[in-house]
């Protein structure tokens, strides 16, 4: 607040002054008249006091009036101020309305931005889900892979794991194996069955051949007996010798002759006995071992041939005709000149006893091939039974002692006796399963059965069966093994491919993640860059536009001095802007390649850098030194040189009051890392600013030249080579060291070193 001189209200002050003068005058006058007015003194004193009091009141009034006047003036001033303030306020309200309208627009913009953000968030959520899904996928694959590795390891080591791996074979493979097992089993069975059928068929054929052979043999034997008998029947000697003998008209030696003849016959035909029976059934003559007592059976046979006038063979009997062993009789009717059927009469019957042991039984029992169980049975039908005529191979029972009822249909003997011819598998007299051929013997009352035990045939088949079984099993095992092997190989390949793909995918994922991280970093950097750039570019615009306003005003007001100052500010701002733009352009170009990557020495790069700032160095009298200059670097030569150039320039700029300025360039080995440095003995850096200095357009000294982009450029180039940069300084006045690494330019060195 400004103070002003106060003007006192004239009338009141003068009044008070005159009042005071009057009072003094009165007082002086009273002094002279003191004595005269002694009694009046007290009253007068009181009067004076009153007047003094009045004067004081008047003075007080004057003061209060003065104060009031002052306050009034203040109020007037305040009112004027209020009016201005009101105007101001009204103007501000208008502005506020405008601002509000702007705010509405801004709000809309903000709402739009918010919406955009929501969209972005939704996108991010989707991306997150996608990422989560991919992670799940990765976990699944990893689990699969782990399981596979465990299984693979278990195949070799742990039986339990192997069993588990077997169980892990997929269903289609299990089906395939099961199908194979089934197919091989079926094949094996069919092969076995076929073999069996073939073997059976072969056996049947064999049995049939044997049966036919034997039946033929027996039939021939039978027919031969009859034929021989027929020749005896019609022998001429019958008429001349036998008839007279039988009619008792023959000389005595006739009987001897007949006997001699009969003995010859017995010898020729290997018969046991021969008996001459007359028509009355008496044995008139006997040659042989024992004279037979003719049984009813023999007599029936004799009668039959007498009637038919044809020779006949009787059945095989035992315990008959005075003979206890099995035998059969050949009855030969003796006929004379009269031909049979021509009314000729039978003169008698010759009865020959044939021992089946001589030919029949051996013949029947003989078997053309070696066999443990094969035998031939000779049978005849006796009423409702089948009689076993021959000696049995598998039974100690004597011939003719075994009879089977015809109801035993599963016995081949019964089938034969029933007149059937053929073959089948049935049960023989022992109840044992046999393969049998059965047929009647033509021309005889006999039937023969040729049989062999099924077991014997099967025992031959067992081997085949075993062979087939073993072969089948082998086939199954082999194919199962092959399938498993193939499967495993396929799985292993698949897993290998999978793991390769997986590894590749993981690699690519990692690569993508790296890229993403890289991009995010780049983005953040770009945002920082944009923020800084926009802020720093805005600054000179504010200056230029504002001072243009002042310039107009000053030119209008004719204030040339201020106009010149305005122009100065505008120029400075414009210059700064130009510089900033140049720098921005420069930094935006850093990612771009200037020269193709090549192998260069530190010395070459440093020389290039030092040459670029030679002017400044010599101006300040800086001594420089490069150590370890033979160290090789691989990269963009000019870009690399920019690092040292900016650092040297920076060191030069902040050299401070150093009398022997000095810059050292070199490197140190820190572990496996090569750390480059640019060291100066300049003004140093406050530790607080060691990080900040690398920011875009950051300057520690506002008065220093340049826009503060140098270190930002260095940091970017170092970043391009995958390195980092940092500054160290013991403090202000202690000099500073800039350290940096360039793995991208150093790690390639050995391989690149081989190339020219």
């Amino acid at each position: 607040m400004r103070s002003e001189n106060n003007k006192e209200p004239l009338s009141y002050t003068e009044l008070a002054a005159s009042l005071a003068a009057a009072v003094e005058e009165i007082a002086g006058h009273s002094e002279k008249q003191k004595k005269l007015a002694a009694d009046l003194g007290a009253a007068h004193k009181e009067n004076i006091h009153l007047i003094k009091e009045q004067a004081a009141v008047a003075a007080e009034l004057a003061a209060s009036y003065k104060e009031l006047a002052f306050q009034n003036e203040e109020k007037a001033k305040r009112a004027a101020e209020l009016v201005i303030a009101n105007e101001e306020l009204a103007f501000q309200n208008g502005e506020k309305a405008k601002r509000a309208a702007e705010l509405v627009i801004a709000n809309e913009e903000l709402a739009f931005q918010n919406q955009e953000k929501a969209c972005r968030a939704a996108e991010l959520a989707v991306a997150n889900k996608e990422l989560a899904f991919q992670n799940q996928e990765k976990a699944d694959r990893a689990a699969e892979l782990e399981h596979f590795l465990q299984t693979a390891a278990g195949d070799k080591k742990i039986p339990g794991a192997a069993a588990r791996s077997f169980l892990d074979i997929p269903r289609h493979l299990a089906f395939l194996v099961a199908g194979l097992v089934l197919a091989f089993s079926c094949g094996g069975y069919l092969l076995y069955r076929n073999t069996k059928i073939n073997v059976y068929a072969g056996k049947y054929a064999e049995l049939k051949a044997i049966g036919e052979l034997k039946a033929g043999g027996l039939s021939n034997w039978w027919q031969e007996r009859l034929n021989n008998a027929a020749s005896l029947s019609l022998n001429l000697a019958n008429e001349s010798l036998v008839r007279p003998f039988l009619e008792n008209t023959a000389p005595a030696q006739t009987a001897g002759d007949i006997k001699a003849w009969l003995e010859n016959v017995l010898k020729s035909y290997d018969y046991e006995d021969a008996a001459l029976v007359d028509n009355r059934g008496r044995v008139r003559l006997f040659v042989g071992i024992a004279k037979p007592a003719l049984s009813q059976l023999a007599l029936a046979g004799i009668k039959e041939v007498q009637r038919s006038q044809r020779p006949g063979l009787g059945g095989i009997y035992d315990k008959a005709d005075n003979v206890s062993i099995p035998h059969l009789n050949l009855y030969v009717p003796l006929l004379g000149r009269a031909a049979p059927g021509a009314g000729g009469k039978c003169m008698g019957v010759l009865m020959f006893r044939i021992n089946p042991e001589r030919f029949l039984y051996p013949y029947i029992q003989s078997w053309p091939a070696p066999s443990r169980t094969a035998e031939t049975l000779l049978l005849s039908r006796e009423g409702d039974t089948a009689l076993f005529l021959n000696k049995l191979r598998h039974s100690s029972a004597p011939p003719l002692s075994l009879r089977f009822p015809l109801s035993r249909k599963n016995s081949p003997a019964i089938q034969a006796v029933l007149g059937h011819e053929g073959a089948f598998e049935g049960k023989d007299y022992r109840g044992v399963k046999v393969l049998a051929d059965f047929r009647p013997v033509p021309g005889t009352p006999w039937f023969i059965v040729s049989k062999v035990d099924s077991e014997e045939i099967l025992s031959g088949l067992y081997l085949s069966a075993w062979l087939i079984l073993v072969f089948t099993c082998l086939c199954i095992l082999l194919s199962a093994g092959l399938i498993t092997l193939l499967y495993n190989v396929r799985q292993r390949n698949a897993y290998r491919n999978l793991s390769v793909v997986n590894a590749a995918r993981l690699r690519s994922d990692a690569l993508l993640e790296d890229k993403l991280k890289d991009l995010l970093e780049k983005n953040a950097e770009l945002e920082r860059f944009l923020y800084t750039a926009s802020h720093d570019l805005k600054s000179p615009v504010v200056t230029v536009r504002s001072f243009l306003g002042y310039l107009e005003k000053d030119l209008a007001g004719g204030n040339a001095a201020r106009a010149a100052a305005d122009i100065g500010f505008i120029r400075a701002a414009a210059d700064k802007m130009a510089e900033l733009l140049d720098d921005l352009l420069g930094i935006s170009r850093i990612g771009r390649v200037i020269t193709p990557p090549a192998l260069v020495t530190l010395q070459a790069v440093a020389d290039e850098a030092l040459a670029a700032v030679a002017g400044k160095l010599s101006e300040r009298g800086v001594r420089t030194q490069v150590a370890g200059g033979t160290a090789a670097l691989f990269g963009d030569r000019l870009r690399l040189a920019e690092i040292w150039q900016n650092l040297v320039e920076n060191a030069c700029k902040y050299m401070g009051p150093q009398k022997e300025p000095r810059i050292d360039i070199g490197f140190e080995a820190r572990g496996a890392e090569r750390v480059f440095f640019v060291r100066d003995n300049g003004m140093g850096i406050d530790p607080r600013f060691l990080v900040k200095i690398f920011g875009l357009f950051e300057k520690l000294d506002a008065k220093a030249e340049g826009s503060g982009i140098g270190l930002a450029i260095v940091q970017r180039i170092v970043g391009l080579y995958g390195g980092r940069i940092w500054a160290e300084s013991a403090g202000e006045g202690q000099g500073s060291v800039f350290y940096f690494t360039l793995p991208g330019a150093v790690s390639n060195e050995p391989q690149q070193g081989e190339k020219p």
Binding site: M1, V541, V542, L700
Partner: protein, 146 residues
């Protein structure tokens, strides 16, 4: 309101901007003394009376601080934090005066208890108007701590 003109401490590295503020406040209604420092470090030195700011007569106590954000060495935000963390300084109103409209800057400034955040208008008339309004508001209307 009566007594000494109020001291405004302006921390601004841009000479042009400092001059703009100075000129804008020349015609302001409320008497003030503008003292300008070139960066954050100088601002702190001033407030702590160090490095050439030790004379209270030459460096009077500021009634209000105007702070640019981007400055060499110590930036505005750091100065703000230092002020608001110091019981001896924290009551001084701090007005951020910057070209930045970045949300981040605004949020951070208020997080650090800035008393006001103003964006430098890119227009001569508006700049002047803002400065005079600012002067009037903070020095006339606003009740400042003693």
């Amino acid at each position: 309101m009566n007594g000494e003109p109020i001291v405004i401490l302006l921390a601004e590295d841009e000479n042009g901007h400092a001059e703009l503020v100075r000129r804008s406040l020349e015609g302001a209604k409320v008497a003030n003394t503008l003292i300008r420092v070139a960066d954050g470090q100088e601002a702190l030195d001033y407030l702590y009376r160090k490095n050439g700011f030790s004379d209270p007569a030459k460096s009077p106590w500021p009634g209000i601080i105007m702070l640019d954000l981007r400055m060499p060495r110590v930036d505005g935000l750091t100065v703000l934090k230092s002020i608001k963390a110091d019981p001896g300084l924290m009551r001084i109103p701090v007005v951020i005066l910057t070209t930045s409209e970045a949300e981040k800057d605004i949020a951070e400034a208020y997080d650090c208890h800035a008393n006001s955040y103003l964006v430098k208008p890119m227009d001569f008339a508006k700049f002047t108007e803002l400065m005079q309004t600012l002067d009037f508001y903070w020095l006339a209307w606003n009740k400042n701590p003693l």
